[in-house]
Amino acid sequence: MTTLRQRLVPYALLAPGLLWLTLFFVVPMYFMGELSLKTGSLADGFQLTWAFENYTNAISNYSTQFGRAFLYAGVATVLCLLLGYPLAYAIAFKAGRWQNLMLFAVIAPFFTTYLIRTIAWKTILEDNSPVVDVLKFLHIVPQDGRVLATAGAVIAGLTYNFLPFMVLPLYASLERLDLRLLEASRDLYASARQTFLKVTLPLTAPGIIAGVLLTFIPAAGDYVNATFLGGTNQSMIGNVIQAQYLVVNDYPTAAALSFTLLVIILIAVLLYIRFAGTEALMGEEEEVR
């Protein structure tokens, strides 16, 4: 009796999560998959015709926006990492009594809604703003140029909005770093640079991987930044899905685009984990040799 109960306990514990996933992930996914293979219109109803051409059409018509989404999200992720790592490092090791305040500052933007924060960037980057004047003075932006309604503005918005998702996992893994290992490295005559590259960086790789995933995945599907900060040639795939669903009411195409986005991201993430996985980054294989 006890053994049976013991065997059942893990399943009982698993049940709520499994039910949740089934109801809110598997079922919608099934409907989306089915919808993506239908043809028809809202007026006449959509019939399942196994229309796999929905996928080929969607991909060939909107490959530009797919490419743009991954380019913008990729650049924003790299920028987040470059900005976020030093920041997380400073918070973890150099902030002293300011640590909690700095952490709070990273999280503080979340007290305002995402939409408002994005629209605020329209003021920061408007044509006659001091920021743009400085960029023009430095010849980063041409004299008759602008920042708002360009790719730069969209990437800046993405970077800003997703920076906390990069900083927090980085901070968590840096904070857990055993400082004695760094001391040991210095004792063994490693330079500061070598210590960072050979000890700190590999040990915080899980944080980097988590941060990159948490930044890249939502950024690739984002449409808010392109809507408000982009111009006429900055639409990302999220904008197309939104328009296909709400404007054209072509639900199958919208579903096919969503599924394609999902699959591409899934493949990208699996490849990323495969090649940049924790073991590889830690250089375990080298040590064995």
């Binding site: 089934t22 079922v27 809202l42 007026a43 904008n239 296909q244």
Partner: protein
């Protein structure tokens, strides 16, 4: 993937299979996600009768003053839940469509959408017929030009809430010589103009500027106009396609002229007197937002009561004074002339016949479903390019 899972791929596979089977079982019970709309010719008539209870209304933001609802509640004894959840026709449709397809209004007894969306909902069988006997006061007060619109002859399912114009909203200090939609294509304003991303607002205006009557326009005319806009977009002439956020761009001077709505211009002018609505030389597009009673509305008697209430000129004047759009109710101008003479003289609220001479009622692309979708897809390809 954790070590545990790696060791036990079989169990994980079985679990996911079980999950999939469960989802299929649920799917089978739930039926198809999207069902066909019923034929609108069989639409039921919304029941009239003694009004009481609770009335749920969906309308656009900033589209009513603060007193009207409580005044109506006092007078009628009906409790009103007035929700400003219509931010755009398409977004609202996306939200309520799955409900309406199953004959459920989500508790709403009145919803307010623009002409073409009213028609679309009617065509899909989502709206009820209105009982003209229950709306007698309305037909006495409804201005003649709105009594018989092409999309709903005789007003069988829609009653106008307010009307407005789509035309030019201009920073007169920065672009004093913009008078026609064609001026938006002037290279002098490269990167300084915006257009609405609403197909039925922007594209017919461009056709009119080229001398094509949108009412009789062919699918090719629509596609040609979209092509002209695409060209301008590719040249960098058009800065953005917008919702009503173009007002902020104008206020900052990032944009000097926009395709926009008359009511926005009246409200923006209060903050910046250089923002002005300009009637395009070739005329504007004119549209109404309409109250309708959706299928499954729980309290249609109260809905009739409310519609009649806002069509009393005195009650309507109170709303107009706040929202500054074109009122569909006659007799309001005389009342406002006593209270607020400047408002009563505004061409944007009480436009004269000359002011509207070249204006066209909002139209949708012609043809069958496939032709419409071709135009809509061409438009999305430009605005989301």
């Amino acid at each position: 993937m954790s070590e545990r899972n790696k060791k036990n791929p079989g169990k994980l596979f079985l679990l996911s299979l079980a999950g999939l089977a469960a989802s299929l079982a649920i799917a089978a019970c739930g039926g198809g996600g999207i069902s066909e709309g019923t034929d609108s010719s069989e639409a039921p008539t919304a029941a009239a009768g003694n009004a009481s209870g609770t009335l749920n209304i969906s309308n656009w933001p900033l589209y009513i003053d603060e007193e009207t609802i409580s005044d109506f509640e006092k007078e009628s004894g009906i409790k009103v839940n007035y929700t400003e959840d219509v931010n755009s026709n398409t977004d609202f449709f996306g939200k309520v469509q799955p409900l309406l397809a199953n004959g459920d209004s989500g508790g709403r007894s009145i919803l307010t959408v623009t002409d073409w969306m009213s028609q679309k909902m009617w065509d899909l069988g989502y709206l009820q017929k209105l009982d003209p006997n229950a709306l007698e006061p309305i037909f006495d007060n409804l201005i003649p030009s709105l009594q018989d619109p092409a999309f709903d002859p005789g007003r069988t399912y829609s009653i106008p809430w307010q009307s407005g114009m789509t035309g030019l909203v201009v920073r007169t200090d920065l672009a004093p010589d913009i008078k026609s939609i064609n001026d938006l294509f002037d290279p002098a304003y490269k990167g300084k103009i915006t257009m609405l991303d609403e197909l039925r607002d922007t594209v017919p205006l461009v056709m009119k500027a080229d001398g094509i009557d949108p009412v009789n326009a062919s699918t090719q005319d629509w596609l040609d106009a979209i092509d002209k806009i695409k060209q301008a977009k590719n040249d960098g002439q058009i800065r953005r396609f917008t919702g009503n956020d173009y007002v902020q761009d104008l206020a900052k001077g990032d944009v000097v002229a926009a395709v926009g709505w008359s009511g926005d211009a009246v409200q923006a002018q209060a903050d910046n007197e250089n923002i002005e609505y300009i009637q395009p030389e070739q005329g504007c597009m004119i549209w109404s937002d309409n109250m309708s009673i959706p299928l499954g509305a729980p309290n249609s008697p109260a809905a009739y009561e409310f519609m009649n209430y806002v069509y009393e000129p005195a009650n309507q004047a109170q709303i107009v004074e706040y929202v500054n759009y074109i009122t569909p109710v006659s007799g309001v101008k005389e009342i406002l002339a006593k209270q607020d003479p400047a408002l009563a003289e505004s061409e944007l609220i009480f436009p004269s016949e000359e002011f509207l001479a070249d204006c066209t009622n909002q139209v949708s692309p012609p043809g069958d479903e496939a032709a419409k979708r071709e135009v809509e897809n061409a438009w999305v390809a430009v605005t989301k390019g």
